[in-house]
């Protein structure tokens, strides 16, 4: 069952912003929705959430058409927003009530997530007194307080320091373990790569790539080598007719066309008695795939 998005289109005036998008989530997991600015991600998300109507197509949740009254969705928008002068406890409870929760359960959930995200001491404080990162965590709690079945996270990690990023990652993984379906939209490719099993890349409203991330990567030949050596290996790399992508203190990233070029370089290093500390033939990252698909 889960979420099914089928042949969805949307136009604003004469401009088509979403062009025949289809994807589905059959089980609780994280789905990566990628695209450049203006590619149609937000419009797609708003259609899934039932905020705006589709031009054509079908969106169903557990076999039922998506309508606000039928679904229990959560949303962390890219545009961060909180009531700056209302105490955090009050505003989260307000959203919980709007989402139909009873006070006791809402309070229980609020305290649980506030503790998890280390913001429990701020519950009686107004958000204007908090850092942006903490405000973001407050907004995240607002999105999950009502235990949504489907959660849409738009740029969840932007603006967070590494410690808070780690906290949020753990919470997201906990939600998936508890059975939440998550759609994550982000420009931080490593975040998507770390979490998402399936992805969809949009460009100007059209799907340019979609599927299981691991399988997508399998279709691409290796394109880089990560190399660390004790001695300088610049001349050896040049002898192998390979181009250095970047290098620093004998740590190299080298462009290759296929895996064979990598093995040849490895042999050459051994023949020249260069001591190798690290050698990895790498498949293209999601970042590389994204650039290839949507980069002009």
């Amino acid at each position: 069952m889960g979420l099914v998005v089928k042949n969805v289109n949307k136009s604003f005036g004469t401009k088509k912003v979403v062009d025949n998008i289809s994807f589905e989530m059959k089980s609780p997991s994280i789905y990566g929705l990628l695209g450049t600015n203006g590619a149609g991600k937000t419009t797609t998300i708003r259609m899934i959430l039932g905020i705006i109507k589709m031009g054509s197509g079908e969106i169903t949740w557990n076999g039922k058409h998506v309508e606000r009254k039928h679904v229990n969705f959560g949303y962390l928008p890219e545009e961060r927003g909180v009531y700056p002068k209302t105490k955090i406890y009050e505003q989260i409870m307000y959203f919980a009530r709007l989402k139909g929760m009873d006070k006791k359960k809402a309070e229980e959930n609020l305290l649980y997530w506030a503790k998890k995200l280390e913001v429990e001491e701020y519950l009686q404080v107004t958000p204007e007194k908090l850092s942006k990162g903490n405000q973001q965590k407050i907004q995240f709690i607002t999105a999950i307080i009502h235990e949504p079945e489907l959660l849409v996270l738009d740029e969840p990690f932007s603006g967070l320091d590494p410690v808070n990023t780690e906290l949020l990652k753990n919470v997201i993984l906990e939600l998936v373990r508890k059975g939440t379906y998550i759609i994550m939209s982000s420009h931080q490719m490593h975040s998507i790569e770390e979490f998402a099993s399936d992805i969809l890349i949009l460009d100007k409203g059209k799907t340019v790539l979609q599927g299981n991330l691991k399988e997508i990567k399998e279709t691409y030949p290796a394109n880089k080598i990560m190399l660390s050596t004790v001695e300088n290996a610049d001349s050896i790399i040049a002898d192998a007719n390979l181009k250095i992508y970047s290098s620093k203190d004998n740590d190299y990233i080298i462009n290759i066309k296929n895996e064979d070029e990598g093995y040849k370089l490895f042999n050459l290093l051994a023949q020249n008695n260069i001591r190798v500390e690290k050698f990895e033939i790498m498949k293209p990252s999601l970042h590389d795939i994204f650039i290839e698909k949507v980069g002009e």
């Binding site: 905020i51 606000r68 928008p77 545009e79 009531y83 907004q139």
Partner: protein, 420 residues
Amino acid sequence: MKDVWVVASYTIKDMLSKKSFLISTLIILIMIVVGFNIPNIIKAFESSDTEEATEENFSKVLVVDSENIYNGMLEKLNDMQLGYKFEIANSEIQYEEIKNKIEAGEIEEALVITKQNNTVKVEYILEDITMMNSIPEEYTIALSNLYTDAQLSKLGYTEAQLQDFKPMFEYELKQTGEQEVKGNVFVIMLLSLVLFYAIYFCAYQVSTSITTEKTSKIIETLVTSTKPRTIVLGKTLGIGIVGLVQVAVIITVAATCAYFCLPEGALESVLDLSQITPTLAIFTVIYFILGYATYALLYALTGSTVGKPEDVQTANGPVAIVAVIGFYLSYFTMMNPTSNLNVFASIFPFSSPFCMPFRIMMGIATTSQIAISIAVLVATILVIANVSIKIYSNAILNYGSKISFKDMINMYKNKDDRNS
């Protein structure tokens, strides 16, 4: 409906926690208490002045009538209780001497009376005439009356006969029209102004609240939690309740002050208290609610079209113009409350909330006029609500440049674009 109340109760709580709201309400209440006590304050000062203002302390005025034009009647000036002590001189006194007396503080001012042909000339001499543009009216009236008395007494008329020449007059206003207006129209116009401000500023809060939610981006989370229609209606309801309670508190304080602080009979002299009935109170509340709903929903529309806080004033401009036109239509036609234009103002939906309650108060509104007025107002609210909610639903997630009138029309036509 439950969500509408959730939004409304949150809005009420939010408004009541705002310091600016509480302080402004407190200032209004203080102004009312002080305003109603002005007569008492003046009285307190006057009574302390009276204690000191014995005859000894009256300003001394020298009146020079060297030609005895007044035939000795100028002494009566001291009996007229003008607040001065008049010193009458029937011999000629030179200007220099008068000047010296004023500079020495012996007298405050002087009146020198002479007669040339048929003209009585009065010179009014004082130290500084910067703040004067003419001789005080009390002097001119007193001197004129005394001159007439002097001339008549020369003809041998008795005091009783003089009284006949100058009887007391009692004036009374009557009209030929059938409709009788009860109460002082100017006081009622003032009350209309108060009602206008109460409705207008209460409705304006809706715009501010919606703009704040939009510009702070909280709206993204809000529209995924409930329908835009619920947000608009809940917000309008919440702010309306707070506004109504605020007005009720203000009226209660004003009524209490009027009862305890105003001199006896002061209120009755400007208002026909028999017209202030529970029916009038109910209609005033109804018109407050309907008037507020009209303007609040218009402000919901304009508030949702704003992308940046600094654009709020510009976006709200058209609604402000409509409100001001509606108010002035009501206000100025109330100078002639029996006119057809005032009847129109009491039915036209943008002016009726500021007009009809006072027509009811003046006892000139007919039942059919009230029924038509309320029906027109309710119909207008339904139309505005329909348009506002549709445009709000489309505009609220638009963060770009300010939405033009043309965009709004397109948004209304594309009514299925957003789930309102």
